[in-house]
């Protein structure tokens, strides 16, 4: 798997094809919108989805932690699909998550779906985290000069026209002041980057990076817009 380098504000970040962001200089890994226990939340509403989404999401996170061996992991919010999610997480998965939070410093940004941190886990809850020039928070908001925002919340996806058919994938969206991560969770859907909620957050020169099996595919955001 080949991550794509992204240079912002004199820092080098790596965008990983699994939908995570890594900052080599600080050994810092970022993921967003895990929505753990979304499957069971839907089940409670009558849609009995296959109950393995949390396991699959944690499988992916474990693989990332093995690859990068981060010292710090920042989860950008909506790690659980709702407030009751932690209670529904199977004991086996709870153990795995606990082990991860003990293997690295876990900065747990709070999201709109999970406004409280999980009890009994070694995480640092916060509404925003700063490191170097970066401001890590759940949902995009106006950024002051000199700061680069790293956020999630919108679950960006982009549809690219190709020779045969349109291909839709989750994607990163980046410009000189902001990096938006795709949703990491196994059952998370996406919002098209052409939607004004995403579109208006970025400048004319913004780029999207679509997730592929082995690598990322980069396009100007304007290309997605023009379709």
């Amino acid at each position: 798997m080949t991550p794509a380098p992204l240079h912002v504000a004199d820092e080098r970040l790596m965008l990983d094809p699994m939908g995570a962001l890594y900052w080599p200089a600080r050994h810092l890994l970022v993921v967003s919108d895990l929505h753990l226990e979304k499957g069971s939340a839907q089940a409670a509403r009558g849609a009995l989805l296959p109950p393995w989404d949390s396991k699959v999401t944690l499988d992916r996170l474990a693989a990332l932690m093995r690859r990068y061996r981060p010292q710090t992991v920042v989860t950008l919010g909506d790690s659980f699909h709702d407030a009751g999610g932690i209670g529904r997480l199977a004991p086996e998965q709870q153990d795995r998550l606990r082990a991860m939070t003990e293997a690295a410093r876990f900065v747990w940004v709070l999201g709109n779906h999970d406004p409280d941190p999980p009890r009994g886990f070694a995480v640092e809850p916060t509404s925003a985290h700063t490191a170097g020039p970066f401001l890590f928070r759940h949902e995009a908001a106006p950024v002051e000069a000199g700061s680069i925002e790293i956020c999630g919340h919108h679950h960006p996806k982009a549809a690219m026209p190709t020779r045969a058919t349109q291909v839709t994938r989750p994607c990163f969206v980046t410009d000189s002041r902001r990096v938006m991560l795709p949703a990491f969770g196994a059952y998370t859907g996406g919002l098209d980057v052409r939607h004004p909620a995403i579109w208006r957050l970025f400048s004319a020169g913004a780029r999207v990076f679509l997730l592929g099996r082995e690598r990322l595919f980069s396009f100007a955001l304007a290309t997605a817009r023009a379709g």
Binding site: Q42, A44, A47, L48, L49, V56, R163, Q166, L191
Partner: protein, 828 residues
Amino acid sequence: MAGTLPEPFAGWFAARGWAPRAHQLAMLAAAEAGQSVLLTAPTGGGKTLAGFLPSLVDLHAHPRAGIHTLYISPLKALAVDIARNLDAPVAEMGLGISVETRTGDTPQNRRARQRAEPPNILLTTPESLAVMLSFTDAAKMFAGLTAIVVDEVHALAGTKRGDQLALGMARLASLAPAARRAGLSATAAHPDALRVWLGAERIITAPDGAPPEISVMVPDGRLSWSGHMGLEAAPQVMARIRAAGTTIVFVNTRAQAELMFQALWRLNDPMLPIGLHHGSLEVEQRRRIEAAMAAGQLRAVVATSSLDLGIDWGGVDQVIQIGAPKGVSRLLQRVGRANHRMDEPSRAILVPANRFEVLECAAAIAGVSARELDGDPPRPGGLDVLAQHLLGMACAAPFDPDAMFAEVRSAAPYAALSRADFDDVLRFVQDGGYALAAYERYRRLFHDSQGRLHVRSERVARQYRMNIGTIVEQPMLKVRLVGRRGAGPALGEVEEYFASQLRPGDTFMFAGRLLRFRRIHEMAVEAEDGGTGEPAVPAYAGARMPLTTNLADRVRGLLQTPESWAVFPDQVQEWLQLQNARSRMPGRRDLLVETFPRGGRWYLVVYCFEGRQAHQTLGMLLTRRMARAGFAPLGFVATDYVLGVWSANQPVDVARLFDEDMLGDDLEDWLADSSMLRRTFRNVAVIAGLIERNHPGAEKSRKQVTVNSDLIYDVLRRHQPGHVLLRATRADAAHGLTDVARVAGMLERAKGRITHMALSRVSPLAVPVLLEIGRESVRTDADEDALLAEAEALIAEVMAETTPAPAPTAPAARRPARAKPTQGKLFA
């Protein structure tokens, strides 16, 4: 008693100058004996009256309250129209019988009234019946049921809707064991299969009317090599419309309907009233057209299969079918819409849209004369439909699984259902049926102390009723006309995918108008009249009907008998003779494969005649093999007749490519990732109740995160590949979008009989598929990642943002990297 009508019916017939027909009297006699029967009759044969007469006679002799007869039709409009037609005799004879309809369009207050005071005769659809059977008072409502009349049986049996109806009838048989069944069907290839589906004891056959007179009208001038629109025939079609009273112009796709409608109007100097009718137009608009047809106010209507079934309109005296009919039964159905007096022949004109279609039309006419109708052998009932049904049954009343299993097996499509499959489906309905027993507290059904299953809550029952149905559509958006005063009436709906490609100011053709796209607002497309320039035409992803096996066989036969070519236009005869000289004819039994170089590429053309779906599946499999053999395939195109593949290297040792074990690992691998299978899974998941339907009224904010069925599919496949919904998906895939069964049959027959012609240049018979390469959606074995890589490199080159990547190994892009709104060609 048998052989005569009782009064006042005899008098009513006599007053109209009618004599009761033999099959109508036979139906009456069968009903009196309590027999269940299937009536097959050509259109115009007085089927409907034959179906209702016994009920009217019985109710007149023994008046009672409550539902006596249930009439079920696949069409809402049919139910409404039949009701209207029944009102006339009931009123004229003063019969005192109540007749009402209940469909998805019936307003809530009328439905409530019907539950409180059920009518004697209730006309409904399979879906509305499923709703009624899920009510707790269903047993009471249907206790007095005496007769079930099912119309258009040939259109229901063998479909998922038919599966659902069969299960409903099995339930009715438990609630009202004495109720007899009467099925009404057009003439069919396998009437006995229909009889079994209905659960009838015998078949009553009405005599055939005069055989139809069908002619072929070839467009003037050069006969098209490829394409299926047939628009160049518009002037001749217009001339025929002018020469006749009322014409139905049948086409095969909705996009074609819009284009042909526009083409005819451009030639409509005398301003004849010509209408448009297809399934994506607003319901009111369709009803208006139907009413106008019935009242004789239209000279022509351009329609898709939306008018295949329906009320007999006596005034239609001409049917024109644009494009090959795809099947003999379908052709007969459409031809039968003209002129409904049994003794007079229906007249129809076939207009082939390209050279191959000339052959197909000739084959279809021969098939009609030989009365060789198509028809697939019955397939087992869908497990997804069963899941939906079982939940509905629990909503009505608690049930014992053993008793329910027996009841389900009494429905013909489920006669061979294994107890294991039944248990798996039931487990899915209860709690998802997952190996990881995680959903105990979210069960939808629970056991009581006697082992009976109960529905858990009223909320589950409500969700069930909101999601009833076996037809799953792609997400659609309404199209609204906007004028100066803001958004106006809805014209119909288009697929979200099509709408998402439009930009403000783009012109598109819809509902017979040229519209200018303004914006998408509140889940609807807003557009104004007066679009200019080349319009995009909405296309729909519903699969185009493929050529039937019978018809394909006849076309192959025609190619092998030069004596039969004399009826073809000169251009076609020359074309075929040239093929014989330069290459050879596809045989009846062998599989002809031609290879030739052209423009720096190599082409491989396979003459399979198995229909587009099967050819696309074969294309996927074949290109994988070609890749492994080092031929470097670049893409392929499938038509109903042939498969064309192009590659960088010359294909050799061609016969080996078609080893039957192409259907082994290669097929498994491909199916595992195939987007076709994902689409099939999505349908299965919605029908089975795993995922909720998109409800057009529900104002879902686009910001709302929803669950994508592809994501569920991936997780389920990895963790429980034997899950019942995945099995249901594989069963569907044997036919439907991937038509694997047809590919298997073809490969089996072709074993040891591959004929390879290595040519130095393109053969005459291969020209059409080469031309399709420019028009049709190009399929390729390259997966999505490879396509993205290619697009990325191309765009970067164009933008000159990076040093140009090495040229991608693909034919010169025929479409610009930025996809403009297309003519809807992707799926049409």
